[in-house]
């Protein structure tokens, strides 16, 4: 079974490209031959029922699966043409270029300032306090959090509200000047207003970073993304422009899933 690809898609620059990617957990195959280009100027949404492999595939894009001993990745995943699974690849550097935001906000138990400054410091992106201050301000501003926290940068990141914590995590990802931001259900633990703020933020960041988002909310995928891939049983079933996927999907399984008929 190959992926059904909508033919009306304009050519885009592929920031990342995966070719025939298989992911295994031990003997179990979680991802089956997925090939996709992640365009640099768009938000790409991965949707699909629980267990379809979308999060596994997302995590393989910055080698987050390396932390799981039984996980094995086949095929090639390239970032700007460079195979990220090649030997000698600096994984820490890779994860700075391909940042990640998780389902539950996970700020470091440090000050708001240090949450942002930590990455740039260890990656040597800032020389001196002034440069670091500038990065902190710029990152928090881009994440739409600056005005809410500028007077209490010394307070603990964990003292912020859930939505603010998530924006702090996005600011933290932005601080190391990534090229790609992966988001794994970034709003599932947030209330509707905090969710709307994250979605607005994603909109603002679109174009500056290639963004990939895994979401269980179909409406969220429809709202924030320009490209949508539907995963089912480890395969990428259909890929196309988001508005086409949500108004006129080609594959029956895609249609059944997004219209609430699946299962």
């Amino acid at each position: 079974m190959v992926t059904v690809r909508h033919e009306n898609l304009p050519a885009t620059d592929a920031k990342m490209r995966t070719t025939d990617v298989n992911v295994y957990y031990g003997d179990k195959q979680a991802i089956d031959s997925v090939s996709i280009d992640i365009p640099s100027q768009y938000v790409t949404a991965f949707i699909g029922p629980s267990g379809c492999g979308k999060s596994t595939f997302l995590r393989s894009l910055n080698r987050m699966n390396d932390t799981i001993p039984s996980a094995r990745v086949e095929g090639t995943i390239e970032l700007e043409g460079d195979d990220i699974y090649r030997s000698g690849m600096d994984v820490v550097q890779l994860r700075a270029r391909v940042g990640m935001v998780f389902q539950k906000p996970n700020p470091f138990p440090k000050s708001i300032y240090d949450n942002i400054a930590y990455g740039p410091k260890i990656h040597g992106l800032a020389e001196g306090k002034d440069a670091l201050d500038a990065i902190v301000e710029k990152s928090l501003t881009r994440a739409g959090l600056w005005n809410e926290v500028k007077d209490r940068l010394d307070e603990s990141g964990t003292a912020l509200s859930g939505g603010q914590q998530q924006r702090l995590c996005i600011a933290r990802a932005i601080a190391v000047d990534p090229e790609v931001i992966l988001m794994d259900e970034p709003c599932s633990a947030l209330d509707p207003i905090a969710t709307a703020k994250i979605e607005e933020l994603i909109d603002e960041l679109t174009g500056r970073y290639a963004i990939v988002i895994v979401t269980h909310s179909m409406q969220q995928a429809a709202r924030v993304s320009q490209r949508t891939a539907f995963f089912h049983l480890g395969k990428m079933v259909e890929y196309g422009a988001t508005e086409d996927i949500f108004t006129n999907p080609i594959e029956e399984r895609t249609k059944d899933y997004i219209t609430g008929r699946y299962g």
């Binding site: 179909m218 949500f246 999907p249 219209t259 609430g260």
Partner: protein, 222 residues
């Protein structure tokens, strides 16, 4: 088609389709009876057609409310979304078809010397064609059948041809005998109304095609 996991969603969609079917049935009957009343000079039947149009208006309002409710509560997508949007538009068009039937019915009492007036014998055949389009397009809607919708669109040419022929016929009557001008003018409106019913059935067919396939039918410039 597979059922929705949320049963109430299916119930809403079924109810919406039921309302459209009911509207279509009423509109089709209204077209038949309006012409029947016109041909036989049956003013009572004409009045009934006029009175029953209110029911169509009420059903359209009901479709509007239900469609808005479904969009608000169920956030329909893909074919569901197209179905709801199509239903919303179809209801408006079918209501218009009812208005044309009503307009025909209102003219019943304005026709004089209905015997020996040849165009009056052509109108029922034309109306029959238009009513059949209305009937078929609702069958296509019920069956989600884009092919039948295309047939309805093709049938509109026949109705248009009838209109041209009746138009010429009426004009020649007016030229030959100015005393017929008043009645002939009324019948011209009736013929025009029937022609518009055909156009609207075509519009519905386009929406049925859209709901079923996601695309509007290819443009036919006839």
């Amino acid at each position: 088609m597979m059922d929705h996991t949320v049963k109430a969603f299916d119930e809403d969609i079924t109810r919406l389709r039921g309302l459209i079917a009911e509207m279509g049935g009423l509109a089709e009957v209204a077209v038949h009876e309006a012409i029947d009343a016109m041909v036989r000079g049956d003013k009572k039947l004409g009045d009934e057609v006029v009175a029953r149009d209110k029911k169509l208006d009420a059903l359209e309002t009901e479709v509007d409310k239900l469609a808005v409710r479904i969009i608000a509560l169920r956030a329909p997508l893909a074919d569901d979304l197209r179905e709801v949007i199509a239903a919303l538009k179809i209801a408006g068009v079918v209501e218009r078809i009812g208005d044309y039937a009503k307009n025909i019915a209102k003219r019943v009492s304005r026709i004089e010397k209905r015997q020996h007036f040849e165009p009056l014998t052509l109108l029922p055949t034309m109306a029959e064609l238009a009513a059949e389009m209305v009937h078929d397009v609702l069958t296509a809607y019920a069956a989600r059948d884009p092919e039948l919708a295309l047939e309805v669109i093709a049938a509109d040419n026949k109705v248009d041809a009838f209109y041209d022929s009746i138009f010429r016929n009426l004009v020649s009557h007016m030229v030959e005998d100015p005393k017929t001008i008043s009645t002939a003018a009324q019948l011209l409106f009736v013929a025009k109304n029937i022609e518009r019913i055909g156009d609207h059935a075509t519009n519905v067919a386009e929406m049925v095609h859209f709901a079923a396939t996601g695309d509007y039918p290819p443009d036919d410039d006839s």
